[in-house]
Every structure is written in C-alpha cells, then in structure tokens.
Amino acid sequence: MSIKPKLILPFVLFYSLICGAQVIAIENGPDIQEKLQEALILAKPGDTIRLGEGFYSFSDGLSLDVDEVKVVGTGMDKTVLSFAEQESGAQGLLVTSSKVILKDFAIEDAKGDALKVIGADGIYMINIRTEWTGGPKSTNGAYGLYPVESKDVLIDGCVAIGASDAGIYVGQSENIIVRNSRAHYNVAGIEIENSYYADVYDNVASHNTGGILVFDLPDLPQQGGHHVRVFRNKAVDNDTDNFAPEGNIVGEVPRGTGIIIQANSDVEVFDNDISGNGTVNLSIVTYSAETDDENYYPHPKSIQVHGNRFGNGGFDPDVDKAIAGILYELSEGNMPDIFWDGILPLTQMIFGQPDEEKLVLSDNGEASFMALKPIKYMLSLPNVTTSDTEPYNRKIRPLSAVVMEIPEGI
C-alpha cells in the first residue's frame, strides 16, 4: 500500500475496507498491562480495540498515540479499568492522537488524572465514567475527563465522580460539546477553562462544591475564553465541602455554588435549572489574583443570563471562602441567586461599558440579584450594592451553536 498519509484522512472508510480495519479483542488476565498497552501502540488507524465485560487492573498508566482508533467496552459499569494498584504513570489513560473514539468503559481510582487528552484534533468520549470510588477526598486525582489543547471535543453521556479538581475539565481547547453527562462529588463538576466555542447542555452537575465553571486564567498559551453556551443543565444541590488541595484555583470555590463565570466573554446561560446551592446559584466575577500579563482581560463581558429557573439558594453560605464571606457581609445574610461583582476596567467604571459588553439578565423568574458598585465599595460610601435587574433587562443576542462533524456510527 502506498497511500500517502494526507490521502488517508478523507478515505478512512475506503482505506478500512480494502486494508481491513481490525477489531482487536483484549482478554483480561495477569498480563493485561502489557497486552493492552501493546495493542494501543500497535493499532493502525481505523482499528477498534474491544474490551469485554470485566474488572481490569493496571499497575502503570496507559497511553494511546495512534489516530482514528476506537477503544470500546461493553458499558461504563461493565468494563472497568482500575488504577487502584497503579505504581507509575501520571494518568489512567493518556491520549495524544486525533479522531479517537472512547466509548462504554470506566476508569477508576487513577493516581493522577483519569483520562487526559493532549492536543487532539477530534476526540470523542461517549459513555465513559471516571470515578474515585472512595468518595470525595483530597488524595483523589485532579481531573476525570481532561482534554487540553484540543479541537473538536465531544463529551457525551459521560459520568465523572470524585475528582479533587474538576470532574469534566476542558482546558485551552476549541469547538467543544459537553452533553448528556453527569458530574457528582467533584470540587468542580464541569469546567470550561481558557477555551473557545463550547456548548454545555443537558448535563446534571450536583453534589459538587461548584456545579459548572466557565473560567479564564492568565499567563497561558491559550487565553481569552469566549463563546460558551450553558443551557438546559441542572446545576443543583452542589453541597460538597471544597476538598481541593490548596493552591489550585478551584480551591477558592465556595461549597454550594451553582454556576461561576469568571473572566470570559460571550457566555450565554439559559434554560437551566439552578437550585439547592447553599452559597450562591450563579456568580459572575472578575479574576482577582495579581497578574502582569498584559494580554489578559480579567473581567467577564458580554454575559447573558436568561430564561433560567432559579430555586432555593444561598441558605448555607460557605463563608470561610473569601468570595462567600464578602457576599454574606454585603447582602447582610440574604444571599442573592445571581451575583455580579461589578468590577470593570477603571475607565468603564467611570464612563460606562459599551452596550454590547453589558450584562444581560432577563426572564429568570423570581431570581434575586445583587451587583457590587466597586467604587463606592472602595471609598466606603453607602449603598454599595444594587439589586435592581431592570437596567440589565436588555435584548438577547443568541450565540450560535457549536458545529462539529461527529464520526458516523459512534
């Protein structure tokens, strides 16, 4: 065969037919580490690696670096890859190739991250469970499903439990869909960080410290997160004490936070159920730590929140965390459903924000609101907050949906 590599991509199917894409069935056994790792290395594009029902125990991390490989089990509760006995390797499974499909298996008790994907152009995770089985503990690995520096990221029907940072974490990536998934007992349930064009919908984030986080951090190769739609999710009953090791940004998240938007632009939050979050249901904040990064914009802008159903919130504020403490003080104990810290670049605080960058709040039922007036706050003047949503009741400019080509038959 002398098909040039660049011709292979468009003709995957054809290529598979004539060259015979293989299905490699892996049998469990004492040498499973070497057998599966070898299969992952020797697989050819188009191949499927099939893992039957069973509990597979590994002593070292696994990795895949071949494009267009499918790794498939028989179900997230039936095919379990356990790393409880792991002695080396910083992840459970590491993927560094593109157009990879991972489906129907679980990764349990990894020593570091459960499933990390670096630099993929196309990564499709379907019905994958990542879990630390001992419940929320600071000794658990940081991330469950963790694609970074990737493009075309699909996380569909997945479950993430017990991560000491984020259950589902998409970092420095582009064109992302996270849907039909569940995140429980993580510090952050679902986190989209320093990423562009993400649709997060039909997910349930409950019993985490914070449910859904849309963050942007400075000093990174990709920053300026923008165009994130968070809709039809349930960010409810996030009531787990923050168990992140200190030093990590999510360590600042107060227990009982539904959704946080920090330092992103063009974020649309709509049609979600947000309730049962003891500190605050929705928080829109500026990145507050010091940075010398001149290319970094620390303020949230063009944030639209509409048509959400807010329920009970703020009934058990985690006042040990700085942001919750301030909020508690400002609200005199009446924690709002929606909080905006009001912090803008100084010129905008004096002369006003451009219209298209202004916060939009509309049709959120009886949700209570509080925004800080930072200048008054700094000068210790009275009336440092406002709860009037009327100035924010502006026309909605819907963001467009993420368009992604998803391989057929997955």
Binding site: Q33, E34, K35, Q37, E38, L40, I41, L42, S59, D60, G61, S63, L64, D65, Q86, E87, S88, G89, A90, L94, T96, A110, K111, G112, D113, I118, G119, S138, T139, N140, G141, A142, Y143, Y146, V148, E149, S164, D165, Y169, G171, Q172, L217, D219, L220, P221, A244, P245, E246, G247, N248, I249, A289, D292
Partner: protein
Amino acid sequence: MKIALTNFMVISFMLMSANLWSVNDAKITSSEFPKVLSEFEFFIDQTKQLPAENVHPYELITTLFSDYSYKSRFIYVPEGKEGSYQKDWVYDFPVGTALIKTFYYPLDERNLDLGLNLLETRVLLHKETGWEAVSYAWNEEQTEAFIKIAGKTINTSWINNEGVSRDVRYRVPNMNQCKECHSTNDVISPIGPKARNLDKDLVYRGEKKNQLAYLLEHGVIDSIPKGNQAVADWEDESVPLQERARAYLAVNCGHCHMPSGVANSTALYLDFNEIRPLHLGINKSPVATGRGSGSLKYSIVPGEADKSILLYRMISTDPGVMMPESGRALVHTEAVNLIEKWINSMRR
C-alpha cells in the same frame, strides 16, 4: 590439520570482522523494528558494550536522572554523512543515524569490576519518515536485549557508593513514553546531543580531547559553533548555584516544559532559553496541578524551598504527584538538595 585450519579460519574471520564490522543500516531505516538488539550490529561485543568502529561513544555534561542507573551512550552516523549544527538545539543528524543508550547498574558501585547489570538499551532511529524510539530489555543471561513495545518493569537492586543495597522498581518506557519526552511540536527528536551539552573533554585511548573536536574529526558533526557555551555540570560545586540548577532543570524537565514541549499547557518552562521569571515558576500559580500542588501556592517561592511546588514534586514518589511523570521511581536526593539550596538562595 583439519582442526588447525578451522582455528585459523575462525581467527582470521574475527580479525576481519573487527575491521569490517559494520552496522546494519537497513535495520535502522526499516519500517519494522528488529526483535532483538543484536540485529542492528552496533556492537562487536554486545554484552561488553564494545561498539563497532564507527559507533562512537559519547557523554553529556549534565544528564537526565534515571533512578541512579548508569548510561553508556553511542552514536552512529552513516558513512559520508554528518549532523549539522543547529542553534540552541540538537545537531540535525541525517537519515540513517542511530542514537543508542544502554542503562545499567553496577552490581556494586564501589567496585565496578564486580560486574554490571544491563537493564535496557534505548534506540532513537532516524528513518525516512522521521525519528522513532523504542527500547530493548536485556535478558537475565545478559546475552541479548529484546524489543519491549509496551515497556517492562524490572524489580532489581544494586549496592550504592555507601554500601547500601537499594531496591528499585525500574521501568523500561513503552514506545509512547519515549515519544512523550522526545516530542517537540508533536515530532520526535533527540534531546541530548546539543553542542553545549557535548562540550567537554574526554579521554580517548589515553589521550585527552574535547568531545566536539573528536566528533568533528570522525565526521559525526559538521562544525563546532564559535563561542559555544557549555552547560554547567550540575554536580560541579565550583559552578554558581544558579547555573547548576538551571542546567539540571533544563535537562531533566525542559524537554517537556518548554513552549513546544508536551507540558506547554502548564506555561511552566524550564528549558535553557526561558528567562521570564514567571514562566520559570517564580511566584507562578499552578494551572491544572491538582494534588500535585501539595497545597502550596506557587511553583517557586523565592527563599522558601519548602513552599515551592517544584521541589515538592521532586521529593514525591507518588505517581499522581511526582515529576517527571515517567522515568523515575526514586528520589534524586542530591538534585533535591541542589534545587532546595537554589530556591533558598533567591532573594525573597
């Protein structure tokens, strides 16, 4: 008579082979890896690691820590070709080049004559399609090394300089792990043979000579850069602390922690070229470190090594915390001491 003739033939064959012994070039560039190391014919005596004439041993000034294992390095460049100098990078060696590195423990570090325990021989082969890396693990008889696509765990021990027997769960890397460290912008590349890390004197057959000069003379490299800045030997106490620390970190961390390396999403860059304090870790917050942070806030806190994540991760042997992520099971105590001293020497 018959016997004598046979002996004569054997002897003359041996003499011829010493002179004419040649590396099997086809095995280096073939798309398939040979199953055993001897097929490459890099060595006249493989067990003794006695290389063929045009397979040149070389050394680096500051080396990667691999659980206190010793390493023998060799380079083979096909006849009539040479590696061309690249600024701040490894020599650009031609297709057909092989870099060969054997990892071993002496049975007793206090007396190397007691014998060696060869663990693995890693090869980096420059094929038409680019560099490829794989390792061969030695059999117990130490007669042959066998390809280990998926890596191998070797539970072994050696007696160190203090006479202490040390156990180690030594890992032969799998092919993907080879790639992880050897990737720059997703392309596999050698890491070691940079002009600045080769610039040292060695003794060749009793004669002291600069290694770069030797390699130039033997057609391995095309030139020696003018005013080449040799890296510091991290163990050389006569060298300023800063240079020793930076050399150690560059060689042990910088291949992943550089802007084109696998760990670039962390924005912690420890390669030689990095000069921005924040990206070197000074008061840099962790990004996606998880429990790797050890509840500390910054990679490096000047003057406070015990508050520095970088050191915390060097001291750990927990796979979810330790750095580097692979290739180390033991703590490199001497390096930990160096980095601790370096951080503590920084002005607060």
